[in-house]
């Protein structure tokens, strides 16, 4: 296994793809890794396609460029599949994780010939159930950890609880919902 994992996030402005990317960097940092988490900025506005990147490694990484050949891709908004080439450069040995109520095989025709594994998760239903609103980034974060195994899933859950306790110190009522979201998403993400 190569020492560095590269992940590319595709989302729409306002969905929290950047936040999820930074949370993944946080969790990887907590487990002792070297991390990079950074967004690519365009004309920022709600709903516009945005990209964010993670490099996670056991050794320091000095490269400061965008990621063109990711090991994994996360698609936070299914509607991007028709407008953005989300599988560009994606490692066929890796995987793509898409926020969708449908199965991966149903979406494969939209993936421009990608031959690797396709996973889906219904982040809308899960977040509405546990958080009372559409916040897809928490389910997607958990799903990519489960699929990529870039972090130990058990350790990730424990670190995230500590992270949420810190982040939501002033509104502890949302911690349990977010934790449920993470755990449920790990169970539900599926594909091949």
């Amino acid at each position: 296994m190569k020492s560095m994992t590269e992940i590319r996030w595709h989302g729409r402005g306002g969905q929290g793809a950047k936040t999820a990317c930074l949370l993944l960097a946080d969790a990887a940092f907590a487990s002792g890794k070297y991390v990079q988490g950074f967004p690519e900025y365009g004309p920022e506005r709600m709903g516009a396609p945005i990209t964010a990147y993670n490099r996670i490694s056991d050794v320091p990484c000095t490269v400061h460029s965008n990621i063109y050949e990711p090991d994994f891709v996360v698609v936070v908004d299914e509607s991007l599949l028709s407008s953005v080439d989300v599988t560009a450069g994606l490692n066929p040995e890796g995987a793509i994780v898409i926020n969708s109520p449908r199965d991966g095989e149903a979406l494969r025709p939209l993936l421009r010939g990608y031959t690797g594994r396709v996973y889906t998760i219904d982040a809308r239903r899960i977040s509405e159930e546990h958080l009372g609103g559409y916040f897809p980034n928490t389910p997607m974060l958990s799903a990519i950890v489960q699929v990529s195994r870039v972090l130990d899933p058990g350790r990730f859950i424990a670190d995230m609880e500590a992270s949420f306790r810190h982040k939501f110190a002033t509104k502890p009522q949302v911690i349990q919902g977010n934790m449920n979201c993470l755990i449920q998403s790990m169970k539900e993400v599926h594909g091949a």
């Binding site: 991390v35 988490g37 967004p39």
Partner: protein
């Protein structure tokens, strides 16, 4: 003891500012430096610093505030980017010629136009002749470390010049990465207190700052200022030596990476250095003797040292992340080529302007430049000296 953290470049600068607790922060937001005054405002609101936080209506005023505060004897800081720096232009000269040790965190962003928020070095390169010391960072760690060293360099008695601590907008300012931080008490001890001998506040030594300077004196003052910039080189190295002894991380005027036997080398500034290092490792594995000079200090420019470092290299590409609009290359190229003029045997040298307005530069792009240098070695022909890389125009894309 150093401790492990993960911060963006902007967070790292704000963190250093909190540790130093300057007297005055003149704040005006502009992307991508905005987070620095934003984070610092939280420190002010939380009572973690007792800095006078002055919110102004423009960058011209933020630099004016710094000039007034520094003349009064205060440690004054600010942060800006791009057009914000350009709007300070007049006051940058005032700060430097009045010999006021002000610290400016410059988060490099391209200058308009067309309007664009992304990184290149055109903002600080435009200010290279203003009389400010300029130090550049490859990553968040260097941005933090350079900031901790800034005030001691700037406040050195035979220097007394303002200082710009630069980092690449978004590429490092908004990228969360691992970093080693130092304890507050150790930082405070290292940076020390600022007690100028002369300041506007204080009755014992009445003083005027910035009056009209008549012809019989003005040139003398300008030459003194130029001498101060020469002295800054030694001050930068002295502070770096103490920093290494205190915190264990080594800095110089520039970093030489795999230069000991290099036949082809790049000279560049900022975050692309890290990408180039990864490329060098790849090329070295194939037997290519590739090296890198990463400029840390651009003002004062380390002319003799750069010439020495390049004296044994056969072909060099100077990579400018700003367009000089000189019709003959970027500002770094002009300096480096000039530095090599006195060498007995000079390397062949080309200029590659890249990364304008956020155009990404990946390992493969850097590799193209090294391959071009190898081609120059093979053919013995330098070819065109002034090239651009990465733009889509097929007519002009030479690399």
């Amino acid at each position: 003891m150093s401790f492990r953290e993960r911060l963006s470049g902007n967070e790292a600068i704000a963190y250093a500012m909190r540790q130093i607790n300057p007297d005055v922060f003149a704040a005006f937001p502009i992307t991508p430096s905005t987070e620095i005054p934003q984070y610092f405002a939280q420190y002010v609101a939380n009572g973690q610093v007792d800095t006078e936080y002055v919110t102004v209506e423009s960058e011209h005023s933020s630099m004016s505030t710094c000039v007034g505060a520094a003349a009064a004897g205060a440690r004054a800081v600010t942060a800006t980017s791009s057009c914000g720096l350009a709007f300070m232009y007049e006051m940058l000269y005032v700060a430097a010629s009045a010999r006021l040790p002000i610290t400016l965190a410059c988060v490099n962003r391209t200058l308009t136009g067309p309007i664009n928020i992304n990184n290149d070095h055109s903002d600080s390169m435009g200010a290279r002749d203003t009389g400010w010391i300029q130090i550049y960072a490859e990553n968040n760690q260097e941005a933090y470390d350079n900031y901790l060293q800034a005030m001691r360099i700037s406040e050195t008695p035979d220097v007394r010049l303002p200082i710009m601590i630069c980092q690449d907008g978004f590429i490092t300012s908004h990228a969360v990465e691992n970093i080693l931080l130092e304890e507050d008490s150790a930082v405070k001890r290292f940076v020390g207190e600022w007690n100028p001998e002369h300041a506007l506040i204080g009755r014992d030594h009445p003083l005027a700052v910035g009056p009209y300077d008549t012809c019989p004196y003005c040139m003398e003052h300008k030459v003194q200022q130029a001498e101060a910039m020469k002295n800054a080189k030694r001050a930068i190295l002295d502070v770096a030596a103490d920093f290494e002894q205190t915190f264990g991380r080594k800095y110089g005027l520039f970093e030489s990476y795999r230069m000991e036997d290099a036949e082809v080398a790049l000279v560049l500034i900022g975050s692309t250095a890290g990408t180039a290092k990864a490329c060098i490792e790849k090329l070295r594995a194939e037997g290519v003797k590739a090296g890198l000079i990463k400029i840390r200090v651009f003002r004062p420019f380390p002319m003799e040292e750069i010439a020495q470092a390049l004296s044994h290299v056969q072909a060099v590409a100077v990579m400018d992340k700003s367009e000089g609009n000189s019709a003959c290359g970027g500002p770094l190229f002009a300096e480096v080529r000039s530095a090599c003029y006195d060498l007995e045997t000079r390397p062949k040298m080309i200029n590659v302007v890249y990364g304008l307005a956020g155009r990404d530069c990946a390992v493969e792009d850097v590799e193209k430049v090294y391959r071009h240098l190898l081609h120059i070695l093979e053919t013995g022909e330098t070819g065109p000296r002034y090239l651009h890389m990465g733009q889509r125009s097929s007519e002009q894309e030479v690399l």
